[in-house]
Subunit: 208 residues, 2 copies
Amino acid sequence: MTAQQVSGQHEAELLDEMWRHVTPDAARRMLIAAAHAFADKGYHATTTRDIASLAGMSPAAVYIHYRSKEDLLFQISKIGHELSLSVLSDVPGKDPVERLSNAVSSFARWHAEYHTTARVVQYELGALSPEHHATVVELRRGIEGRMRSIIAEGVEAGLFDAPDLRGATLAVLSLCIDVARWYQPTGKRTPEQIGALYADLVRRMLMS
Amino acid sequence: MTAQQVSGQHEAELLDEMWRHVTPDAARRMLIAAAHAFADKGYHATTTRDIASLAGMSPAAVYIHYRSKEDLLFQISKIGHELSLSVLSDVPGKDPVERLSNAVSSFARWHAEYHTTARVVQYELGALSPEHHATVVELRRGIEGRMRSIIAEGVEAGLFDAPDLRGATLAVLSLCIDVARWYQPTGKRTPEQIGALYADLVRRMLMS
DNA sequence: TTAGGATCTAAGCAACCGCTTAGTATGTGC
DNA sequence: GCACATACTAAGCGGTTGCTTAGATCCTAA
């Protein structure tokens, strides 16, 4: 077994872990298949036949567990947003500097490790129905709010220098999110290393 | 005329300016229509009928000037990459610090001002044919190389502290490119302000 | 044993896709 | 006036799309 195969297996395990509470089994397999296909080719370029075929089932089987192709996208987007939001909850750290480092490190690492889901989450928002889009936008507001409050703590403590708080928050989130675009499992940087590198860059970017 | 209409007209003028050397007139109108549609809905969700309709012509007229829908995407992607590459050419500045600030400021501002084209350039790479994709990847290598050499100059001069040169380059480019994803013309930050904010953040991120 | 729900497939429908064909208008050189 | 290239449109072709229908199979409980 090559290193790349090990890496591939590791990712498959991560995905299984990620969607573990989706039941029944066939529904979970279809979500995983859809997430891979959407990330690989984009939502609109993926057919329901692609998804069914990846999940090892007939095209009609999709509609036993999901209302529509868009419903599949919404489930992936919703769960994905909730997971990436949970990464920014109760971030440990004895002071704002440590808390920001941990937040950035975890958030950037998440976008590398779960880059497949993260790509769907970040780049297929526009394909959601207006109602589903609104649900997801609300989750995104939560993500921005949590990162902003971590930075704000540091500013109030006089540790960070960020005259434009919202601008700085935007830049930090943007930096982490964009990891999903360029990250490749075959690249030389591991998700942990990316998290460490980014935590350091952001610390220097904001510390006074 | 409202502020938003002025802004809209300003953007339309920028686009006309951007594609000014595309002839004949109908071919240029179609490129502009395609760029807007691709940025708005994505390449695969855009039909050739959408493009023709936006350009005020019949569906068949697309094929007078372009081989295929993918050819339209390639022209947009190629010209877009060349323009964003030219932004990083001959960056002025009396020292590496000033040069980096100018490079980041210009590059980030470009991704805000031309966010329509930039989105196509950044998010529809995968829809290109293998040959066209290779052409564009070559241009992207040039972009990365120019930013890296600017940072490297500062490191060699002892002004920047970047133990991981390629990692730092990746982060800086990533930060600027992601502006195209979140930028909204109706937002409160102008492209110039974003450029200034980002130049400052990156300077602090890299200076020793 | 068997009724009944849940889960799946084979087949196919209406709509839409990228692109082509055949033919029409327009302008230009001679 | 006429031949001819360019630029366009109306119509439509073969193939694909998301999704539905009708029916087969399986599991479970009485």
